[in-house]
Amino acid sequence: MTELSLTRPREHARSVPEAGTRLAPRPRRGRRLGPGRAVPGALLVGPVLLLIAWILGSGTGLLDPNTLSPPWTVVTTFGDLVADGRLQSNLLTSVRRAGIALVIGIGLGVVLALVSGLSRTGEALIDGPVQIKRAIPTLALIPLAIIWFGIGEDMKIIVIAASVFVPVYINTHAALSGVDGRYVELAETVGLSRRAFVRRVALPGALPGFFTGLRLAVTISWLALVVVEQVNATSGIGYLMTQARNYGQTEVIVVGLVVYAVFGLVGDTVVRQIERRALSWRRTLGS
């Protein structure tokens, strides 16, 4: 009853033609429930604001240089590190480690996800162990990894790869299990072979999940890199930072952090660009 009496007058009001407003042009908008227009340079807005806060904080003396070196010191230190070549050589070592581990980890993740997503036997064999691996932090694996593989490059790459494959596996596998059954039916009616089914239906269907996993993997490879390089290394950005800590050089530590941040962001952006290309067939809330 109350509802009726509430809605009636409104409906009535709507049916009365209001000469001026009825045909007034409405501005064209995007999707009503979408996130809105794209903000220009969206990726940079947050970081730039942080940078400004840092500059202001250091300039006004609000930030103690012993807590966090001011940006200009960091810049000169950066210059020095580049001039004597230490930054480049350590960065190269780190990028190489992360890169090799990423390739191995992504390959492993995809293959395991395919085996486990496309066969029940595979799932029974693979899914459980991966879930268990997921529960173990990378740091906790290092002592065992050192005993098994020594303290050389192999150990580092294996530890990073072991962290990287997990998100790739989990997301690819989830997307694969989520491929619409109607497409599987279609594949059956057109008589696709198992191989053609994997290539035409399963893989493309799992691609969005794979990219989610890939973005996490790139970030995680960088995180795992920090861990292995700070525990046991004689080169790499993490090693540079560990040494700086021993000598109390916060400006070197900050340079290391900035390098990690820049490379992490660059990695993520590259993956997102690839994703955008590869998934151009999608029309989603975010696009």
């Binding site: 109607r182 497409y183 594949a187 059956e188 009616t189 057109v190 696709l192 035409r200 067939w281």
Partner: protein, 246 residues
């Protein structure tokens, strides 16, 4: 009327594209198909009518051998070269139009044939589009092209023209008949539209209470005139069989 085993002599197997005997299918203990008998001759165009929920899709899926998990029994013979047009267009969203048409086909001339099939359904030049860039009717036409390019011995179509406007629908009818004359597949067309059934089919069936209780042969020459009194009589009878009383 419906043919029951033993009632009529079965036509020899060589002369049938589809043979169904005493087919039953049910969901959760409820019989949806309850002893369906059906023969379709090679090149014969059969339309299947029935109320919503009467089991038309269930029968079509049985003929497409897509109902592995559904409990039921009965004899079923269908040719291996089948093509299905689903109630939804069911295009792979990640494949371009031509790749959708060619799904599962290979061979040197496949792309040429795919383009020709697209041209036949009036989608020349759209072969590089993504499915989401097409209108609903265009997507349905791609699905039709995908079926026709396979030159099937049996074409199973589940309300393929449901999403089309009247004009496109008539064009698609003409097209389908032309293609049937050229490739001579046996056709089972599920539709809600009595006019469509009477315009196109050699035989019209009505599925009711899990059985085919009406089976009318329509012999009028094609192209058929909508106002032909013989067709009008068929329409009336079929509407009555569907429970529409006027």
């Amino acid at each position: 009327m419906a043919t029951h085993p033993g009632q009529l002599a079965d036509p020899p197997l060589a002369d049938t594209a589809v043979r169904v005997r005493d087919l039953t299918r049910g969901f959760g203990g409820r019989a949806v198909l309850d002893g369906v008998d059906l023969d379709i001759a090679p090149g014969e165009f059969v339309a299947l009518l029935g109320r919503s929920g009467s089991g038309k899709t269930t029968l079509l899926r049985a003929l497409a051998e897509l109902d592995g998990g559904v409990p039921g029994s009965g004899e079923l013979r269908v040719p291996a070269e089948r093509a299905v047009v689903f109630q939804d267009s069911r295009l792979l969203p990640w494949a371009r139009v031509l790749d959708n048409v060619l799904l599962g086909l290979d061979g040197a001339d496949a792309r040429e044939r795919g383009r020709a099939a697209l041209a036949e359904v009036g989608l020349e030049g759209r072969h590089r589009s993504w499915p989401y860039e097409l209108s609903g009717g265009e997507q349905q036409r791609v699905a039709l092209a995908r079926s026709l390019v396979r030159e099937p011995a049996l074409l199973l179509a589940d309300e393929p023209f449901g999403a089309l406007d009247a004009l496109t629908r008539i064009r698609m009818h003409t097209l389908l008949l032309e293609l049937c004359v050229r490739h001579r597949p046996a056709v089972l067309l599920v539709t809600h539209d009595v006019d469509e059934a009477v315009q196109l089919a050699d035989r019209v069936l009505v599925l009711d209470h899990g059985r085919i209780l009406t089976d009318r042969a329509i012999t009028a020459e094609r192209p058929r005139d909508h106002h032909d009194p013989a067709l009008a009589a068929h329409r009336d009878r079929l509407l009555t069989a569907l429970g529409v009383h006027r």
